[in-house]
Amino acid sequence: MKNRLSLLAGPYVVWMALFVVAPIFLVVIYAFSSAGGGFTLDNFAKMSTYWVVFVRSFELALIATFICLLIGYPLAYIMAKEGPGFQRIAMVLIMLPMWMNFLLRTYAWMSILENTGLLNQFFQAVGIIDLGNLINGWLNNLCAGLNDLLGLSLNTARDTNMEYFKMINTSGAVVLGMVYNYLPFMVLPIYSVIMKLDHSLLEAARDLGASTGRVFRKVIFPLSLPGVLSGITMVFVPSVSTFAISRLLGGGNELLLGDLIERQFLGSAYNAQLGSAISLVMMLVVLICMYVMNRFGEGEEQAVML
């Protein structure tokens, strides 16, 4: 009788074929076709002009993922040590920002990082900007002295009349936006893996004389790797393909892959073939990275996703 119940999946299988598989095939076909419709590899050749964007996207996404891991792992570890009541509240606090749209969270940072924004107002009031001018002056003098003395050509033109620190529309702001938006995606999988660890293993390690640091290095960390891998995936993929964060915090100066793809489809430079080719290459690179990483970590990550 098994077969009869399996028919229940029929409608959804048809739906997937139409709206998941067919569109992806279409992307592949578009990537290999010219505007007229014939087969061509031109789209991939054209992509070499955007090499900088590829490098920048992967670089910023990697930095953001690394920072998320650096903050997220200790946070998850500390949370797991707390009592159940505390943990419940901490979980709510981690998840609450995720339920606000990421555009609003990014917008919040715009008003903080602006040239006349809240952070610069604060720096002005506390005198950090004056301090910055002072330090720049010293550095200029120092470099000028070294240049005279040793015949170097160090920069002596640091701004000593700054009224604000330039924070918005820099790649740093884009990375900050990624970290802020996707940090919970790193914390949650790591936390759930650490919570599920078999406590008798930790006790056994301690009974056998391992120090706290050694228990962490030899038992807890290796066993939490699936969570780490799943966290890395969940932060890296949206970071590398974002276009709204770079638009809002990068101000259009820091073009990322997402922006590039968006422009080919909805922008003035309509070129669906090129856009498809870029999407295809981006996904392939991401997939290869994931594959290598899973090999490396003996991936059990899909089990952790839940």
């Binding site: 999946a9 959804y12 569109p23 998840m95 969270r105 917008y107 919040a108 968006e262």
Partner: protein, 287 residues
């Protein structure tokens, strides 16, 4: 994890939470600011909330968001539950590839999903147009020959990315279910239909509810896929917000954020208090 956390741990945690919440609180504070500025405080006002409710573009986009989310969630919950039961009863040879395809929308970058659906809809509309033209010419009908992205395509896209989450939430509940339950029910004279409604569905209900909630939040929260599939005439709340942040700054965005934050906060508190009560009641009943 028996050791207690130190002051340093607590401090670190406090700093991270400060990092997470300071921007949100600043956003909320400036929604009451009596000035267009989002950085200089000029006094308290509720004007932005009044303006928000009078802004027809925002109000209609909220309506669109809720409508598409509710319909997509209902369809995705039903389709996903049936699909999960179907997958569970399949042979492994069929099940595994289908589940892999099911995971594609979740694993791939949102922008790729959006772009591929956009391409697909445009291509399909081209075909429809040609077919309509042919019908008009040969049969003398008067079908429209041009189609545009709009609410229907938005809805299809939402169903497409929602259903995998429902499948993923229901599957584990099916695997946890005692395999012999259905057989036992049938031995006791149950028909297939009764076994389905009275045995399987109640067993996997927590998974269905869970999947439904995830689907709804995903739908309300989505920006990227909607952006590529809604066309120019339809706009969800996230798309309207994106348009506003791009054009000019208005504290109305702050007001929207505050209302959303409060709504989510209240919902989360209710859910958690209820869970805590249930856990307590269970413990009390046991002792």
């Amino acid at each position: 994890m028996k050791q207690r956390s130190s002051i340093l741990d607590r401090l670190f945690m406090g700093l991270v939470f400060f990092f997470l919440y300071a921007p949100i609180f600043l956003l909320i504070i400036f929604s009451f600011n009596d000035s267009k500025s989002r950085t200089v405080w000029q006094g308290f006002t509720l004007d932005w909330y009044v303006e928000l409710f009078q802004d027809s573009a925002i109000m209609s986009s909220i309506y669109t968001t809720l409508l598409v989310s509710v319909i997509a969630t209902v369809v995705a919950t039903v389709a996903g539950t049936f699909a999960a039961i179907g997958f569970y009863n399949m042979r492994r040879r069929w099940r595994n590839p289908l589940i892999t395809i099911n995971n594609i929308p979740m694993m791939s970058a949102e922008i790729v999903m959006g772009v591929s659906l956009c391409l697909f809809f445009v291509a399909a509309f081209g075909l429809f147009g040609t077919a309509a033209q042919w019908l008009n010419n040969t049969l003398g009908t008067n079908l429209p020959t041009r189609y545009y992205l709009g609410f229907p395509t938005l809805l299809i896209a939402h169903i497409t990315f929602n259903t995998p989450y429902v499948v993923l939430a229901v599957m584990p509940k099916l695997q946890q279910m005692d395999k012999h339950l259905v057989e036992a029910a049938q031995d006791l004279g149950c028909t297939w239909r009764q076994a389905f409604w009275k045995v399987i569905i109640p067993e996997i209900k927590p998974g269905i509810v869970n999947g439904m909630l995830i689907a709804f939040t995903m739908s309300v929260d989505d920006f990227v896929i909607s952006y590529f599939t809604a066309g120019s005439s339809t706009s969800t709340l996230a798309m309207t917000i994106y348009g506003m942040t791009k054009k000019r700054i208005s504290p109305k965005i702050n007001a929207v954020s505050t209302l959303l934050f409060v709504t989510v906060l209240i919902l989360l508190v209710i859910v958690n208090v209820r869970e805590a009560h249930q856990a307590k009641a269970k413990n009390a009943a046991r002792s």
